[in-house]
């Protein structure tokens, strides 16, 4: 774990204050380590640390620890995971973004080198326009897009990330060449939000959670969500209702190193299932506005394969792989 010394220092000075009790306890199967292949604070880190808490409540006798291996859309962490072949005490949090990053960075290690364990959560994406925008509906935006793709600037997160993939899929569905999408990449939803609130771009795409408050307060207009049905508590039509056949979930889950024995795979899957069934996990999912989409075994492996094919296709069509 990076910063171990420092974390220990911090924990030491806090131990006295928080009085939350020491966590000790040994187990025959050793410490379960969860790798968050990103910096502290991001989505994968948050998922990992939330899972850590849920693991502790579901299996108190098992020691769990989260560590971060940031870099290159998670592919640095992926490479490290591949080096731990056969290690049954290691999980890596990953998701749709990693699938794209593997293609884009031409990573030598791919998900074929891992053992899929479980899909945990999904978050849908939302397409918004500034409140002052002339586009009232998705149809308005699509019409303008078809007329002149260059004039419609779309703000979102990093190039090749989930937001960009949604833009590409929307273009394809609308009959616009995905290469023509005028996508303005930002370092995150926050920066893109600023461009939208300042009415600098035509439209924006990000996770629902990132924009929902601003849609509710009327500063942004939501014109489409990427879910199959309308989302509860948010009065925004789906992309399908608006005439674009696009459905996409930004999912997250766990994979383990490749070359795992069947027994190890079963132990890990059972442990993750137990974690998922805990009240602590259910509460955290509700609090973070995630959608529970638990899948394990062959079901998840198949899902992973189909997502890889889809992402690979659209990234190539957008001209993102040199």
């Amino acid at each position: 774990m990076r910063l171990r010394i420092f974390a220990a220092l911090a924990a030491l000075s806090l131990g006295a204050l928080t009085a939350c009790g020491g966590q000790s306890g040994t187990s025959a199967s050793g410490t379960l380590r969860i790798m968050a292949p990103a910096s502290p604070g991001g989505g994968w880190d948050q998922t990992s640390r939330t899972a850590e808490q849920a693991f502790k409540s579901a299996a108190p006798d098992r020691k769990v620890e989260v560590f971060n291996v940031p870099g290159a859309g998670g592919t640095i962490g992926l490479a490290q995971l591949a080096g731990e072949k056969g290690n049954g005490n290691l999980l890596m949090t990953m998701g749709l973004v990693m699938v794209g990053a593997i293609e884009q960075n031409k990573s030598k290690v791919t998900l074929a080198d891992t053992t899929p364990i479980a899909k945990l959560t999904e978050e849908y994406e939302i397409v918004v326009v500034p409140a002052e925008s002339p586009y009232k509906t998705l149809a308005d935006l699509t019409a303008a897009w078809k007329a002149n793709p260059a004039k419609v600037s779309i703000a979102g997160g990093s190039a090749g990330g989930t937001d960009h993939i949604v833009a590409g899929l929307m273009a394809k569905a609308a009959g616009v060449d995905p290469k023509q999408v005028n996508y303005i990449a930002h370092s995150g939803g926050g920066e893109a939000l600023n461009a939208l609130l300042g009415n600098k771009v035509s439209a924006g795409i990000s996770g629902v959670g990132e924009f929902a408050e601003h849609v509710k307060s009327g500063k942004l207009r939501g014109i489409g969500v990427t879910s199959g049905e309308r989302l509860e508590g948010l009065d925004v039509p789906t992309l399908k209702e608006g005439g674009l056949d696009v459905e996409l979930a930004n999912w997250r889950g766990f994979v383990a190193p490749g070359g795992l024995s069947d027994a190890d795979k079963k132990t890990l899957t059972d442990l993750v299932t137990k974690m998922h069934d805990s009240q602590a996990w259910k509460d955290a999912v509700a609090k973070n506005g995630w959608i529970d989409s638990f899948q394990t075994g062959q079901q998840f492996a198949d899902y992973l394969t189909s997502e890889q094919t889809r992402v690979k296709g659209i990234i190539a069509e957008m001209g993102l792989v040199s």
């Binding site: 204050l17 604070g41 960075n105 920066e191 600023n194």
Partner: protein, 502 residues
């Protein structure tokens, strides 16, 4: 006044013995991580996020605020004493601060940094209370073309004051710009100058560049001269700021605050740019003794940038609290902390959760005061670090630099990059190239590039978008003035000296 009443309520909630203890832990931790290169407040707060499960919100935010301000301040200590900035935002402090330390005025430099940080932090937090809505409207109106103009202004302001030789300054700047290119291009997702090394895909962290060029370069340079020169004895000097120091510091503190606060509120501003601008402004405004001392350890060059640095930390909270818009890494993590307490930051935060918001603002005042209480008495003690014999001192610097950089991402590749940059820093010193422009180029270059391309993409290739925004136009005119005034003055001086003859 309603907000004043709410603030007083916030103080009532925040001022308990336990909370003061949290504040103390926060500023101590913050100062520590600020001193260690590589480990910044963002990472520290992120690692401490799990305490939000067990600790009441006010206490947690008091501690986080302490860490945030403490980190901003701690970075300046090593900058001043050892020419080794712990954070990129305290890099400028090293320029004059370290020169002051070498002339035996370390304690004064540390004191003006501590008091300046306190003054700026307090004033900026006050501004946060009264001016947040106005400032946020201004910040939102900043488009990519405006950021591009801002970067141009920072380039011209800084390059015209940083180096005695223009060619050397530009060479150093070019090096920095090149280093800034390494990594995935944000707009297209293509890798540039990564030499096929996946660890370089995210670019080289500015902390590694600052630590490599400044700290390691300095250590190697000192080591190379140990045998040649008798070790210069650094006098520790008097302990406190004299009357003249106070007189020369208070205006830079205020100007630094005025620069730092709005820039902190800008989503793409960052803490570095206001320190550059403050340094440039103080140098331009320097008269008399200050003018002679500038470049040799002028107290103004420490007071201004340090105030700007801390004021920008408070400015960052404006878009965070009013819009739920994080503009720095630390702010993004504070946002996550808000969410842990079950509240959605955004336009309605002030109305829906006044207790938490005002408790946090009150905790900023407390953290800031605690920081001064902790650091001011320590200034003369810190200054004694300079008495450590140089071989031990610089060996320690190399160790801490390597440790901090390794802690950043936990990868060996970063250490290699650090040592390569250290050698580069040594070579630059050896051949008389200033290192600061390189770090400035590395910070401003990518920003200028991405914003220029964004502006052009949004404008569908129309170049006039760059000057059509009034903010951009004003900034570009200022940049032109910064560039042309010295030339113009030189021309006038020449003509004046020529006229009598002709």
């Amino acid at each position: 006044m309603e907000s004043l009443q709410l603030l007083i309520d916030g103080f009532a909630a925040a001022l308990t013995p336990v909370n003061l203890l949290y504040a103390l832990v926060g500023v101590t931790l913050g100062t520590l991580v600020g001193v260690l290169p590589g480990i910044g407040p963002a990472m520290t707060v992120a690692l401490l996020l799990p305490i939000t499960f067990t600790v009441p919100s006010t206490s947690a935010f008091i501690m986080f605020a302490g860490i945030y301000y403490g980190g901003m301040y701690g970075g300046s200590t090593t900058s001043i004493l050892l020419n080794t900035p712990g954070e990129s935002s305290s890099m400028i402090t090293a320029l004059e601060g370290n020169k002051m330390a070498r002339r035996g005025r370390a304690a004064q430099a540390l004191a003006t940094a501590a008091i300046g940080s306190f003054v700026a932090g307090t004033l900026a937090t006050g501004l946060l209370v009264v001016a947040a809505p106005a400032v946020v409207a201004f910040a939102i109106s900043f488009g990519p073309e405006d950021y591009f103009a801002l970067a141009i202004l920072a380039f011209t302001a800084v390059s015209s004051v940083l180096s005695r030789s223009i060619v050397r300054g530009l060479a150093s700047l070019g090096l920095g710009l090149t280093i800034g290119l390494v990594g995935i291009d944000q707009q297209t997702g293509q890798a540039r100058l990564t030499l096929g090394i996946p660890q370089l895909l995210d670019g080289i962290d500015v902390v590694i560049v600052a630590v490599g060029l400044f700290a390691l370069g300095e250590a190697l340079y000192v080591a190379s001269r140990l045998r040649h020169a008798t070790p210069e004895v650094v006098p520790v000097g008097r302990a406190w700021m004299g009357r003249a120091d106070w007189r020369r510091s208070w205006r830079p503190w205020l100007r630094g605050t005025a620069l730092g606060f709005p820039f902190g509120a800008l989503p793409g501003g960052g803490a570095e740019i206001p320190t550059f601008l403050s340094y440039a402004a103080e140098k331009r405004l320097a008269r008399g003794v200050a003018k002679e001392e500038y470049g040799n350890g002028a107290i103004e060059g420490v007071a201004g940038p340090e105030a700007a640095n801390n004021a920008s930390a408070a400015g960052t909270l404006v878009p965070l609290l009013t819009l739920g818009l994080p503009t720095s890494a630390t702010a993004a993590i504070l946002l996550a902390a808000f969410q842990q307490y079950g509240l959605q930051p955004g336009p309605q935060l002030f109305d829906h959760n006044p207790a938490l918001v005002w408790g946090m603002i009150a905790s900023l005042f407390i953290g800031n005061t605690m920081l001064l209480v902790l650091n001011l008495p320590l200034a003369p003690l810190w200054a004694r670090v300079l008495r450590i014999p140089r071989p031990y001192l610089y060996a320690g610097i190399v160790l801490f630099a390597a440790l901090g950089v390794y802690a950043l991402n936990g990868t060996i590749v970063d250490l290699f990059v650090l040592f390569v940059l250290g050698l580069l820093g040594y070579a630059m010193r050896r051949f008389g190239l200033p290192v600061a422009p390189a770090v400035i180029g590395m910070i401003l270059g990518p920003m200028a590039e991405i914003q220029l391309r964004r502006a052009l993409a949004i404008g569908a290739g129309d170049v006039t978008v760059l000057v059509r925004s009034p903010i951009a136009a004003v900034l570009l005119v200022l940049a032109a003035l910064a560039l042309l005034t010295p030339l113009f003055r030189k021309l006038m001086a020449k003509r004046r000296s020529v006229t009598p003859v002709g």
